[in-house]
Symmetry: D2
C-alpha cells in the first residue's frame, strides 16, 4: 500500500489542533506526501478542498484526524467510502478511536510510511427513508422526538418481529458504539467482533429492555416528528409516520492501527 | 366546606371530553353551582374565563379535570394556588390522579355536595432563575439540552454537596412523579408520603445513579442552552450558565378523594 | 421421521401432571407408540426407566414434558443428546418453551403422528473443569459465591480479553435464557437466532455492564468457593481458584413446534 | 467528654492490623487511657475481654477500629449500644467509614484527647422475628433464599401497603448502606441525612424497581427458607413463612469525626 495522498481533519475551532495540523503537514511534506485539508481549515503547502463533497471525490490514501474521538467520528462520516483513518490524540483528549498521542507523531509516521501497520475494519450503519440516505454512523443512530411535551409511539420491526412502545426515542448502536451513548442509556457492551446491533430505548414508558438483534435491516416509525441524529454529530428532522430503515452501510470504516488489541471498549470504561 | 364555584378543565381537542363537560355542567347547575371554563372551552350556562391568568384570580372551590392524568396535571399547574382538583377519567384513559370514571359522575357529585370526601395534599416543586419563576410541577422538572450534538456538563448543588457530570439532561422528580418520566429513566419509586426529591440523570456519560435528597433547594447549571420542561407539558428555553433553583412550591396540590388508599403508585406500575 | 418411542417427563410432585401423563400415555398407546417414564414416575402400560442414565441410553424419538417451562428445562437437560422435546402446558403454567396446553393434546398428537411439525434448534452451553463436565444448560449457567459474607473476585476470559471484578456471582446466558434469570439481573434480551452469549454480573461492586460476546469458550475463575447452577435447577459446589470453562454444548436442544413464530421472548415479557 | 476506656478492634487475621494495634495501645497508655481488646486479639498492657457479650457490658468511651470499612462495620455491630467508633485505615484499605489513615494516628489522638472532634450519628436497623432480635445493621439487611433452585415469593408490607413478588432475595438498606451492596444491586443513592430506607429486590422475576420508603417497620415474609445477612458479615438461617420485621434500631451508630463533610457517599463512588 502506497500512501501519498493524505487529508488532515482537525477538531472544530481548536487553535491547538490547527497548530498540530501545520506541524503534521510539514512532516508529511518531508516524506513527499500530498496534503489536503477541507475548508475552512487552511494549512501551509496543503491543497484546500472546498467541501466534504469534493473530499469524497478526491483520491486519498489516508485521513489523519487530529483531536479526540469526536474528530475521528467526523472524519469517518465524511469519508463515506473506505479511506482509512488514523487518529492523533491531542493532549487532554480521551479516545479509543484516536489512540496515538501527538507527541508520538514522528515515530507514528515512520511506521506508516514503512507500511508497518494493520487496518482494522468496523461495521457501520445508515438510516434511509425511501431513496433518501442519511450519512453513515460508526457508533449509533438516534431517532428522537422533537416536541418534548408528547411521548410518541414507536413501531420497530426487525427480523420477523414487531414491537410497539411509547418512549422519547430509540437508538440503534453498533458494537463500536455500544460503549458510547448507548451505554449511557443503560445498554449492554457488545464485543466489537460481533455482527449484531443493539436497540436501546430512550426513556420507555414501560422500561423495555435493550434488544440485541442480528445486523439486518431494522424499520422504525414514530407517530411524531423526529430528529435523526448520526453519531451525536449530524442532525436531520423528519415528519411523523415515515418508515426509517436502518441497515448496514456498504463501506466499513477502516482504522490504521499499529497493534491489534483486545477489547478496547472495556479499557475505555475503566474495566 | 361549601362548594359553589367550580371550573371545568378538559383534555385538549377532545370532542368526547367537551361532551362530558356539557353533561357535568348540567349536573352541577341542578345542584346550584356556578360553573366556569377557560377559553377556548365553551360550555352551556358556564362563564368562560379568558385565560389561565383570569382563572387564578377567580374565587373557586373546586376544579373538575375531565380526561386522564395529563388533564389533571394541567389543571393543577394552572391552579398554582391551592384549589382542590377532582379528576374524571374518560373511557380509555389511564390514571392514578384521575381515579373516578365518567360513568360514576352522578354518585361522585352526590358525595362531593354531601361533603363526603377527603383532601389529599401532594407537594410540588418549581424552578426559578433569579426572580423569574416557572410554573409549579406536580411530577417533575426536566432540564434538557437543546442542541443534541453536544453533551453538556451539569453542575448540581444540593444540601452542602456539589456534583459535576456530563449528561443530556437532569430531572428532579417529586414522590408523585417518581412513577412517571423519572421511572422511565430508571429512577426508584418514592413513597408518596416522603418529603424528598429524586435527581435522575438523563443519559449520563458515566452512569451516575439516581440520588434521593432532602426536599431543600437544588441548584442546577448547564454549560449549554437548555429547555426547562414542567410536568412534560410546558416548555421554556434558557441560556447556558444560568443558575436554576428547584425548590418546594408554596402551595401543595390538593386532590379531592373519596377514600384514602395506600400506594397508588405501585398499582399504577402493575405491582 | 417415525415416532414410536416416547418418554413422558412430568412436573415433580404434581398429581395433576401424573394424571395428565396417564391420559397422554393412553392416547399414545392407541397410536401404537411405546411409552417410557423415568423412576419414580409410574404410568399404566409404560416402561419405567431406572434413572436419567438409563434414559440417555434408550433409543427415543420424542420426549413429552408435562408441566411448565421448568419441566421442559429438566427434560432437555436429561436428554443431553438431541431427542426432540414437546412441551404440554398444565393449566396455570406459564411457558414459552411449553406452548401447547393440555386441552389441545389430542389434536397435537394427530399433528405429531402426521409428521405435521417442525423442529426448532436452540443452542446450549455447558461448564467444565478439566475433564469434569457439568450437564448442559438451555438457559444459563450461574457461578455464585457460597459464603455470603465475602465478595469474591472473578476473573473472566473471553475471546482475547480478560476482566477482573468483585461481585457475588457471574451468569452466562444463551439467547434462549436471556429472558429468564439473566433478564432479572438487568441483562439485555438477545434475539434467539444469534450465536452469542451474554455475561451478566450478579451484584458487581462497580456496576459492570452486561457483556454480549461471541459464542466461544469463556473461562471463569473465582477466588472463593462457588456453586455452579445449571438452568436454576441443578447445583454443584466447587473449590476456589478453579478454571471453569463455559462452551457451546455439542448437541443443540430440539423442540417440536407446530408453527415457526418470531420472537417468543418478547411475547413472554409482555412486549 | 472524658475518654479513658478504649477498645481496639482489628481486621480479622491481619498481622499488619495487630502490629498497628500494639502501636496504638502504646500511644494510648502514654495518655493514661485503659485499653481493651476482645479475644482472640491480644495486645501488650491491654485487658482482653472474653467475648462480644463481655464487651457490651464493659463501660467504654471509644472504640478504635483498625482496618477498613469492614472492621468499622464489625465494631459498630458489636457495640450495639452507642459507644462512638473511630476508624483507622490501614494502607491499601478503602473506606468512607474509616477515614483517618494509620500514618496520622498521633495527631488524631492529640485531637481526640483535646476533645477537638464531633460525633456523627448514623441510623441503624435490625431484623426481628417475634421476640428474637438479630444484631443491628449500619448498612443493610439482606433476606436471601437458601435453596438456589427455587425462586421464592416474598410478601413485603410497609406503611399501609403490601407487595408480593417472586425474586431471589430482598434487601433493606439505610442511607449509609445505599452506596454499598444496595448500589451493586442497582439501587439509588440516598442522601445520608434522610430518615428513609430503600427496599432493593435481588433478581426480581418482573424487574421490580427499588422503593424508597419511610423509616417505619417493614415486614418481610418468604415462602422458602432464607438467610438473614447483616451488613454482609453475620448470617442467620430461618424457616419459610416467618414474619421478619425490619425496624429502626434503638441506638444510632456514632462516629468520631474531625470535620463534618458533605456527601461522603458520592466521593466513595467517584462522583
Amino acid at each position: 500500500m502506497t500512501i501519498s495522498n493524505i487529508v488532515l481533519v482537525t477538531r472544530y475551532g481548536s487553535l491547538e489542533a490547527e497548530n498540530a495540523a501545520n506541524k503534521v503537514a510539514q512532516l508529511l511534506h518531508k516524506r513527499g506526501a500530498n496534503v489536503y485539508t477541507v475548508s475552512p481549515l487552511a494549512v501551509m503547502n496543503a491543497k484546500q478542498l472546498e467541501s466534504e463533497h469534493e473530499l469524497r471525490r478526491t483520491h486519498l490514501d489516508l485521513a489523519i484526524a487530529i483531536g479526540g474521538d469526536g474528530t475521528v467520528l467526523r472524519a469517518v462520516r465524511w469519508l463515506s467510502n473506505a479511506v482509512p483513518v488514523f487518529g492523533l490524540r491531542l493532549a487532554g483528549s480521551r479516545g479509543i478511536l484516536a489512540e496515538t498521542s501527538l507527541d508520538e507523531v514522528e515515530s507514528a509516521l515512520d511506521r506508516i510510511f514503512a507500511n508497518a501497520f494493520c487496518l482494522e475494519k468496523r461495521m457501520r450503519i445508515y438510516a434511509s427513508i425511501d431513496s433518501l440516505e442519511f450519512p453513515p454512523a460508526l457508533n449509533e443512530i438516534l431517532i428522537s422526538r422533537i416536541n418534548v411535551t408528547r411521548t410518541p409511539t414507536f413501531t420497530i420491526k426487525f427480523a420477523k418481529d414487531q414491537l410497539r412502545q411509547r418512549m422519547d426515542g430509540i437508538m440503534i448502536a453498533t458494537p463500536t458504539g455500544s460503549t458510547g451513548h448507548s451505554f449511557s442509556l443503560g445498554g449492554p457492551v457488545l464485543h466489537e467482533n460481533l455482527n449484531v446491533l443493539v436497540i436501546t430505548p430512550l426513556s420507555p414508558v414501560n422500561r423495555m429492555p435493550p434488544l440485541v438483534v442480528p445486523n439486518e435491516p431494522i424499520e422504525v416509525r414514530s407517530n411524531a416528528d423526529s430528529s435523526i441524529i448520526v453519531d451525536g454529530q449530524s442532525t436531520f428532522e423528519i415528519k411523523f409516520e415515515q418508515d426509517i430503515t436502518i441497515a448496514r452501510y456498504k463501506h466499513d470504516a477502516r482504522f490504521l492501527r499499529f497493534e491489534t488489541k483486545g477489547l478496547r471498549q472495556l479499557a475505555k470504561l475503566g474495566f
